[in-house]
Symmetry: C3
Subunit: 133 residues, 3 copies
């Protein structure tokens, strides 16, 4: 298992981890198959989205804030229930295909750690699986 360690710097943030994932695949010598990523956290998730205009990430986080706002009806003592829901909306696992050692991403696509209750130390676990075709 490959483990990336990421220090986040804000309460909510989309951190581009594409380069680090790609480097680890190169180091492993893996060529063809799936790259499975997993966050072992409950207030952070993983997502793929645009890596060009930073305003896309800003706008996404703004609307996610509207979708899962602080709510006086929430009972969880830590007060971070919105972060837990946002983590589930993004998801804790994702897959990217790999060919000839390279992540098969779209031209404008990056892999993001979605922090919703930072700043924190976060980990991302990765496993590589060979494909049949």
């Amino acid at each position: 298992m490959i483990t990336l360690k990421i220090q986040t710097h804000a309460k909510t943030e989309l951190v581009d981890i594409t380069q680090q994932v790609q480097e680890r695949i190169h180091q492993s010598g893996f060529r063809e198959g799936l790259c499975a990523l997993f966050v072992p956290h409950t207030t952070a998730g993983l997502t793929l989205n645009e890596n060009w205009d930073p305003d896309v990430r800003r706008d996404m986080l703004l609307t996610l804030q509207d979708i899962a706002p602080a709510d006086p009806r929430h009972r969880h003592g830590e007060g971070n229930s919105p972060a837990h829901l946002k983590a589930s909306l993004m998801g804790a696992s994702l897959l990217v295909l790999v060919e000839q050692g390279s992540l098969q991403l779209g031209s404008w696509q990056g892999i993001y750690l979605a922090e919703f209750d930072g700043p924190r130390h976060r980990r991302i676990q990765i496993k590589l699986v060979a494909s049949a075709d």
Copy 2:
């Protein structure tokens, strides 16, 4: 393929299936790779989230209710369009990494069947895939 059968007991509910998934992995003798989970249903999903304070699940379901409320503009005759959307928001498939026969979950992380139109009999399908590393 491993199949878990789950009886849900409420309209909306997050049912912790972590233990059952782990037991089936132990029984299979599988050691290293990916555990892929899938729900063959359209009003239930799968998610990972906190397994400690039950108020986290309660708060998440409350906000999901606000996100996808009953709506007089909906046309689907069964009246459960919000349940269909919530299932897609959580997702029907997920991955957890396995090392030395154990699910590599975070300390506070459980695997949940997300029921949005219960109570019902639900199934979860599991396949185990060996990793290259």
Copy 3:
């Protein structure tokens, strides 16, 4: 890698790709394991949901519109930040289990390309991975 090419026809649309995915699996001769699907786009996603009543898809897209509306606070120049967020809410990757060459879907379950900024030419990338069990 298998690549499907899909032409979408509306701004937002759920396009059933189940048949095309199944045909490609038959052609490949693949029998047992995982079918991993990935969209290399940032304003389209993948989801599983009901393939019977088209009103389910219509109702889902209607509520997604409410969840991620146009917003004057958004800064991204293309004006499609809601499409980017909806793509992340659905997700860019998913898994379906395969047995005896057949996708193991529920009776009412189809695989959908979720278009949020069409009409466009879209691609779906697929890899097949043999399972250990």
